[in-house]
């Protein structure tokens, strides 16, 4: 399986990345992508800045292990994870996950699995700055429940 991981410190263009990912495929019939965007408002109101922090080297290593795990669970030709860090504003892409396989079910499930990992276990820390100040975000109960579907620790 081809596995690409990138931590982006600057804005990235998810569709250009996805086009490059697709064009490099040789036999896959199905590509599923997830793009996460900064929402203009959270439960705390309008968000002016989203801050994302990672643990350089360690975060990438753990994502690589999870991609390898996905490659054992599903027959994937390729998978891609791009995750932003730094300060982001509304509508900016935060994350792009893509999975390519011969058949669509594997591609859907692998992308879903990778997003559940990124939301609940990957080494990222997210803060929202709004009129109420800066708030560090923790996963919702739904994120943990989603991740538990795959039987992961």
């Amino acid at each position: 399986m081809r596995a690409d991981i990138r931590i982006a410190t600057q804005a990235f263009d998810p569709e250009s990345e996805l086009a490059a990912f697709r064009i490099a495929l040789s036999g896959a019939g199905a590509v599923v992508s997830f793009t996460g965007l900064v929402r203009p408002a959270s439960d705390a109101g309008a968000v002016s800045t989203l801050g994302l922090q990672h643990y350089p080297g360690v975060t990438e290593h753990a994502i690589a292990e999870t991609l390898a795990d996905a490659g054992e669970r599903w027959a994937l030709e390729a998978a891609l994870v791009i995750h932003r860090v730094g300060d982001l504003t509304a509508h900016e892409p935060i994350v792009l996950v893509a999975a390519a396989s011969r058949h669509r079910r594997a591609a859907f499930e692998a992308a879903d699995f990778l997003m559940d990992y990124l939301k609940s276990r990957a080494l990222f820390w997210k803060s929202e700055t709004s009129a109420q100040g800066k708030l560090w975000v923790e996963p919702r109960a739904a994120d943990y429940a989603d991740a538990a579907r795959w039987g992961v620790r």
């Binding site: 080494l123 990222f124 820390w125 997210k126 803060s127 996963p139």
Partner: protein, 82 residues
């Protein structure tokens, strides 16, 4: 010098993401938190919370693990990516 890394809200509490501390001998993570608590009880209390995980040189450890000079000790609060 050992490197201490404070992620997420712990960095706000510590006043910086990174701090160095000279260690003449190995200390457990719990002991180091105690040392930090002598100058900053609020920080030490946050570092000792149940849901904070510890990593030495990138590997998750428990609070009894030993930190030596030149090690990197990271304090990891609950994560939130994507």
């Amino acid at each position: 010098m050992a490197r201490l890394l404070f992620f997420g809200r712990l960095g706000d509490l510590a006043g910086a993401v990174e701090r160095s501390i000279g260690l003449s001998q190995a200390h457990s993570v719990a002991d180091l938190i105690g040392v930090l608590g002598q100058s900053d009880r609020l920080l030490a209390s946050a570092l000792g919370e149940d849901r904070i995980r510890y990593a030495i040189n990138g590997t998750i450890v428990d609070s009894g693990a030993l930190v030596e000079d030149d090690d990197e000790l990271a304090f990891l609060p609950p994560v939130s990516g994507g």
